[in-house]
Assembly symmetry: C2
Homo-oligomer: 434 residues x 2
């Protein structure tokens, strides 16, 4: 049975701010019209109008916000884990580009995207920003599948009109922009799956294309996602391609495609320096921190601590298939791990990320790109996971924070009993207690 | 039904050497009296006497050697994943030491070790070297459970008589050695679970204790496991404690407890330098490379490539609970990952580890500590996993090497259909095809 208004009872964890994790055992989380009305430690503390809502009893289970993936490549899911011992360039040429070219065939896209969407439904992420390919039909097909999945997503038809293989490169800026417009006209009716402008990255987009995308951005009021400062060779290349830009980020900013009135996610930012950081901070650009991908593709370790200290908006990204695992729990543990390696390999003044911090980044940090998302504070959209403690449970009592730690490290999709997005259960988790 | 002599048919992968991975599709692996008699591409190539053996048909499944974990702490399994955002010292004081002290209580040990052994049975490792605690009854209990598990293990009662909390430290060298002897007398009858001498590490063992352990080593002909050069502060401490030793490894060697006639595993070796590497090479000391633990405890990244080039014997270790995951597949992927970070953070001349190399390390590399183990070359002990391709399978054909890559990155215990150790099926995997 589905309710618009209900109460969940259980052991509730969520972030209030970057460093403050709320742990409320045996408490009540109220959902009204798809939004949280807050967490209450006793039934009698629930405001009167909500007390008559049906109460679903998950005593002994954990209830946490759904996770948010700010960066992944939908057409790369099919080959995740393959070629992970290659270097970036070899991997792109062997896997990423030839595979993406196949999405011209909608049958191939359907088969492959169906498997992706099923995986995403079963996992812990509730909000996801995805790159598609340059192909309009395949991108619309992905949006169709996601729209029905119960998840809330942003999907981008990719733009690229230079420096890419013939099989993928769009003919010229005009045609790339025109097919983007066709795509935008056709995806206006989705409620859960919204378009996001997606120039692949500066090296694969001509100035002319960037100008046209900027026009489209203004006309449709679109958000934007792209890549920034992922590795040193790429940065040097951008410097060569855009000698008039003061930094890589500025190469987007010149076209008004770098934050400010354009909600913007930049993936990676492994090597952003002071000027770029200041630009991102001033313009409210989001960093999608993708620790696994940055390891797998030998990019390096992003200075996440510096970004937090600079007050940047930041969330986590799986970057499938630079990363292998779609679950943002994995990005949380990888984020903690690489921050320690960064510290002990030279960056002595950068404290490693804590559990509180990576949990914030994987929920509210990335969630805020979607609005009030990723927390259970009153007014937030009701994305929630009901989870079981991973087996075997230790032979000693655990605090709720410790139970959360075990969920983050040891859970998998079998630990998820129920998954809500905007108050609506995601299909496939239909039993109140499985 | 159990056979001593049988043939498995399927898609077979195993290492011949560090860089040569054999991939034999639709082939036949012969087991006779617990040993491999080799892999044959056609039934008619199987030597005559073996052709009448029952043939179990796993067509379409992968058959690979069981994995080998050269380093884990049995009493730390219960709290794995907890405190992973702490620094080493805080973690030891908060978790490792207080938890280990609890194993004086055999009821606690039974409950906790039972959960560990069940986990190990279900996972992909077939051979494991484990640290127990200082407690003789708990260590014997662990060996009882492992003996019946179907796995082949080496287990050490830990020795420590200085620089450790009162709750764990043994009273003096004489009593530590005496209780070690009691333990050795009582574990002589096990067939699958053998004792291994286990001084915790130099800082927690007096010279007097080391001398007595050396005597016991000679009397019983025992192998040895310990820790070496895990982090810089520890190395400085050893230099202070053993001013007469030329390097950390030499502090063991002085007591004849560092290879040569003593089969020896040293865990970590994150900071071993030329002299120590040469000593290990000369004396045949094994490195247990534990990439996840070295990240989680902010130790650093071991120079695995240098060790391979120096011709050291090396295997992989989970180091639970410095590491969180018992599966050596995880150590393989972490090993590839951190080797890339090491390269892009300064060690430009050290090529990252390849899939072939980490697969070798996790099977034959560590397996050779147990004898002819970790390969399917004729004469090797028959440890094998029959595995299913992880779901969802990509919508394009895969080579056998690529399927192995997916197993290494994406499988979990559900992918294991059957598990053999020395030709005998591990309990819990009793259906030929589950």
């Amino acid at each position: 049975m589905e309710y618009r208004n209900f109460v969940l009872k259980g052991d509730i964890c969520y972030s209030k701010t970057l460093n403050s994790l709320v742990t409320a055992e045996n408490s009540f989380l109220v959902c009204t019209e798809g939004k949280s009305a807050g967490v209450f430690s006793q039934f009698s503390h629930i405001p009167l109008p909500y007390r008559q809502f049906p109460c679903i009893d998950y005593t002994g289970k954990l209830i946490i916000p759904g996770l948010v993936d700010l960066h992944m490549h939908a057409p790369q899911f099919a080959f995740r884990s393959l070629g992970m011992d290659m270097e970036l360039l070899e991997w792109l040429e062997t896997w990423a580009f030839p595979e993406e070219a196949k999405y011209q065939d909608t049958n191939y896209a359907l088969r492959s995207y169906r498997a992706l969407v099923e995986d995403l439904q079963q996992g812990p992420n509730t909000r996801i920003c995805l790159f598609g390919t340059v192909h309009v039909p395949a991108t619309l097909l992905l949006m169709d599948l996601l729209e029905k999945s119960g998840l809330v997503c942003m999907v981008g038809k990719v733009n690229m009109d230079r420096n890419s293989p013939d099989t993928l490169r769009e003919e010229d800026a005009a045609r790339s922009a025109a097919s983007t417009q066709v795509w935008l006209e056709q995806c206006g009716t989705y409620k859960n799956c919204k378009p996001i402008l997606t120039p692949r990255f500066i090296p694969s987009c001509t100035d002319e294309l960037m100008r046209r995308l900027s026009d489209l951005q203004q006309r449709y009021g679109l958000p934007l996602q792209s890549h920034l400062s992922e590795n040193l060779r790429e940065i040097a290349w951008v410097r060569e391609l855009c000698p008039e830009s003061s930094c890589y980020g500025d190469a987007y900013a010149r076209f008004d495609l770098f934050g400010d009135r354009v909600p913007t996610i930049m993936a990676h930012c492994v090597y952003s320096e002071s000027e770029e950081i200041a630009l991102m901070q001033r313009r409210g650009v989001y960093v999608a921190h993708c620790p696994q991908s940055n390891m797998n593709l030998a990019s390096g370790i992003a200075p996440a601590r510096r970004y937090l200290e600079a007050g940047l908006s930041m969330g986590l990204g799986s970057d499938v298939a630079g990363g292998v695992h779609t679950s943002i729990f994995r990005a949380m543990t990888d984020g903690m791990g690489v921050s320690k390696l960064r510290r002990c390999m030279g960056a002595c003044d950068e404290a490693p990320l804590t559990l509180e911090e990576v949990f914030f980044l994987g929920t509210q940090g990335g969630g805020s790109f979607f609005g009030p998302v990723g927390s259970f504070e009153a007014g937030y959209e009701f994305d929630a996971l009901v989870m079981e403690d991973p087996h075997p449970v230790p032979p000693f009592p655990l605090t709720l924070r410790e139970r959360l730690e075990r969920i983050v490290w040891c859970s998998d999709e079998r630990s998820i009993l129920r998954k809500y997005v905007r108050g609506i259960p995601v299909p496939g988790f239909s039993n109140p207690v499985r």
